[in-house]
């Protein structure tokens, strides 16, 4: 059904596969909006969710998507497993694989861990975030949200604000948006922006007001407060004043813009509560679209392909 066997990242992901996942997501959203909210499209399939790193919404979102598709899922988290006893990734995964599974969802703190996993198991691997590398399912749900809001992605003007350098969400969003023909400007403190913007084909600015006045939608990224201790930003106060989506900045804009955030939010740092909770914010739509997108991804990678939606 897709050209790809796994979903590891969007940098090299075929555009046709990406479009197919996005379009199919809307069909699953319809199912989610029906009374029963459930299908049996992945009945008999077993999926293991391996979370080596903490996660709330991604983990729940995948679990729900699997349940709504009728799959059997088992959860594994590093904090309560043999990883704590010193088992290597390879051994952990091969043990799980030998128990016959069809697909694996992995979140891991190290870049490349999802790709590594494809060497150890036969089933489909879905990257739920590998370190600072990629978070493709988040980017796909962002694309679904944008397409739902604007009807298209091509030609959209998208601002991404925050820690672009270390954000897997930013990286995957940039790859997806570029493939789909959106214009991108990234904004943040210079210590948190990539030095190779030209290679990524994106524009960079330090002036948030410039971005807000230009864009159709803005994606605020979570600022990891531990970056402060690494000396990359001097204070929450300065970040909030210069790079926060404050009510003051948003209320001055001449036109409405769509406000997005992948969560979890630091309210009062990168986004004001008044902005996060405003009518222009689609942050909770992103969450629901996350379930639909992940159903779409799981179905297209694991399904038999003979069930017409």
């Amino acid at each position: 059904m897709l050209k790809s066997k796994h979903l590891i990242g969007l940098e090299h992901f075929p555009i046709s596969d990406l479009n197919k996942i996005i379009d199919t997501s809307f069909k699953f959203k319809e199912i989610l909006n029906t009374e029963s909210r459930k299908s049996i499209l992945l009945k008999g399939k077993t999926i293991v969710n391996m979370f080596f790193e903490n996660s709330t919404r991604t983990k729940i979102s995948f679990s729900l998507a699997e349940k709504r598709l009728g799959a059997d899922s088992i959860n594994f988290s590093a904090s309560t497993s043999s990883v704590k006893k010193g088992e290597t990734l390879k051994d952990t995964v091969q043990n799980i694989e030998s128990m016959k599974i069809d697909g694996a969802v992995i979140r891991h703190g190290h870049p490349g861990s999802a790709l590594k996993l494809t060497e150890y198991i036969d089933g489909a691997v879905i990257n739920a975030g590998d370190g600072s590398h990629e978070h493709p399912t988040q980017a796909i749900l962002d694309m679904v949200t944008l397409k739902e809001k604007f009807g298209k992605i091509k030609g959209l003007k998208i601002g991404i604000v925050g820690d672009i350098l270390n954000s897997r969400v930013a990286r995957s969003d940039i790859f997806a948006l570029k493939k789909l023909g959106a214009e991108i400007v990234v904004c943040g403190p210079s210590t948190l922006l990539p030095g190779d913007a030209k290679r990524l084909g994106i524009n960079i600015t330090y002036n948030l007001n410039e971005v807000l006045n230009w864009c159709d939608a803005v994606i605020a990224l979570r600022i990891q407060l531990e970056r402060m201790h690494l000396g990359r930003i001097p204070s929450k106060r300065e970040y909030h004043s210069e790079f926060g989506l404050t009510y003051e900045k948003i209320s001055k804009l001449k036109k409405d813009i769509v406000i997005m955030h992948p969560g979890p939010m630091n309210r009062g740092v990168e986004i004001d509560s008044k902005v996060a909770d405003s009518d222009n914010a689609v942050i909770l739509d992103q969450v629901l679209n996350g379930v639909a997108s992940r159903m779409s991804i799981l179905y297209l990678l694991l399904g038999d392909g003979d069930i017409k939606l």
Binding site: P189, S190, T191, Y206, R232, P234, R237, E238, S241
Partner: protein, 431 residues
């Protein structure tokens, strides 16, 4: 303290007007009305006018001097200097604008501290622009709120007095400051190579039994900073160059990068390590006065334009801080009052630099580095004017010093070129 009179209507008659912005020199008159430049021409008639006429025959009329590197010790050591006493010291040297370093107590490392300096300076007779600290508490660990500090009036950033030893931190500072378009000014001395040295490391320090500070300490850190600034395309200003090695490195990098600027202090152009023969603690300064070879390289560097600016590094200290052994004495010397007489003597009179070129180094060039207005003789501009006699020979004495401190090794030295009048912030001062 000197008293100014209101610069309501002042005619500077028959001076040699040197405008370092337009690079024009001519003999003529300059009229100031209500503190602003109202007319410049070959001859301005006084008929029927109530101008206060200042005879400037034989004198040079030029932009007010700008010193991008002074220490005014307020807050914390008001016994050494205050913003007020410092500004009169500056006026006595012909300076109408100065930039104050952040190493006070407390350190100027927050928007609130910047605001304090700016508001305290409002009513003073010169413009004072605070330089903010690069790191909180000047510890070289965490960046200061540079964006908010700039909004409150910080003109540049420096931990001067304390070298930024951690290269990763320096890299972050040079990256963060790109958002502001202002220079990072690092006190470039590798603290490990400096090795507690109190004077230049040489046969002289060996003879005196004093611990030496090798020129390599400056060279190594200057090289590091130049590499970082070039690769990041950031603004870097090299403070108080003292070594030939640093001048040579600057030459290598400057041809490629215009974002890199440098300054030299009058004392490094005047003194050499041999002058410390009698343990004069007023010659104890950081970085130290170096060898004859270094002094020659600095003179060549400023003459050729490689070094952009002259900055005094005016560093007042009490008698108690200086009347002690060389090892225990504080580093630093005052420099505002003696500056012009020293650099004019060394560079113009003894080393053949043109007066026009010297003026650029203490007017337009530092203002360019600090993003200050440089076209000061534009009609309608607030008058910032310094009038000096380029040929007057004088002996520098305690009585010439308006600073609260008098730690100057120039006391008793014969200087050439003396500032006579200064116009600043709508006031006319006679020195």
């Amino acid at each position: 303290m000197i008293k100014g009179i209101n610069a309501r209507k002042i005619l500077l008659k028959s001076g040699r007007i040197i405008d370092p912005f337009s690079k024009k020199t001519f003999n003529g008159d300059l009229l100031i009305e209500s503190g602003k430049i109202s007319k410049i021409s070959d001859s301005i008639s006084t008929k029927g006018k109530d101008y206060k006429v200042i005879n400037c025959k034989g004198l040079v009329v030029t932009h007010g001097f700008c010193d991008m590197h002074v220490h005014f010790r307020e807050p914390g050591r008001e016994d050494k200097e205050t913003l007020e006493s410092g500004s009169y010291s500056a006026l006595a040297g012909g300076f109408t604008q100065v930039c104050t370093m952040a190493n006070t107590n407390p350190v100027i490392d927050s928007p609130e501290h910047i605001h304090y300096i700016v508001s305290k300076s409002q009513k003073l007779p010169i413009d004072i622009f605070p330089i903010g600290a690069v790191s909180k508490g000047m510890k070289g660990e965490e960046l200061t709120e540079m964006l908010l500090m700039q909004k409150n009036g910080a003109i540049a950033f420096s931990d001067d007095g304390v070298p930024i030893q951690n290269a990763q931190f320096m890299k972050l500072a040079l990256t963060y400051s790109k958002m502001l378009n202002v220079p990072i000014m690092n006190h470039a001395e590798d603290i490990f190579l400096r090795n507690d040295g109190v004077m230049n490391a040489s046969s002289i320090s060996n003879n005196l039994g004093l611990k030496g500070n090798t020129s390599l300490g400056e060279a190594v850190m200057v090289y590091r900073d130049l590499l970082l600034a070039e690769s990041l395309n950031s603004k870097l200003h090299l403070l108080h160059l003292s070594t030939k090695e640093a001048v040579d490195l600057l030459k290598q990098f400057k041809s490629k990068k215009q974002l890199i600027t440098a300054e030299v202090s009058p004392h490094h152009l005047y003194f050499v390590d041999e002058d410390i023969d009698s343990f004069d603690t007023n010659l104890k300064v950081a970085p130290p006065v170096r060898s004859k070879k270094d002094r020659k390289a600095l003179i060549e560097g400023i003459k050729s334009g490689l070094i952009d600016c002259i900055a005094t590094d005016h560093a007042p200290h009490t008698l108690e801080d200086k009347e002690t052994t060389f090892n225990e004495a504080a580093f630093g010397m005052i420099g505002l009052e003696s500056c012009f007489g020293v650099v004019n003597k060394v560079l113009v009179k003894e080393n053949g630099m043109s007066l026009k070129s010297l003026i650029e180094k203490i007017t337009v060039n530092p203002r360019k580095v600090m993003n200050l207005e440089t076209n000061l003789f534009d009609i309608g501009s607030k008058a910032q004017i310094t009038i000096f006699d380029p040929n007057e020979k004088w002996k520098f004495k305690n009585s010439h010093i308006l600073s609260k401190s008098s730690n100057s090794p120039f006391i008793g030295k014969d200087l050439v070129g003396k500032v006579k009048f200064v116009i600043s912030k709508n006031q006319f001062f006679t020195l």
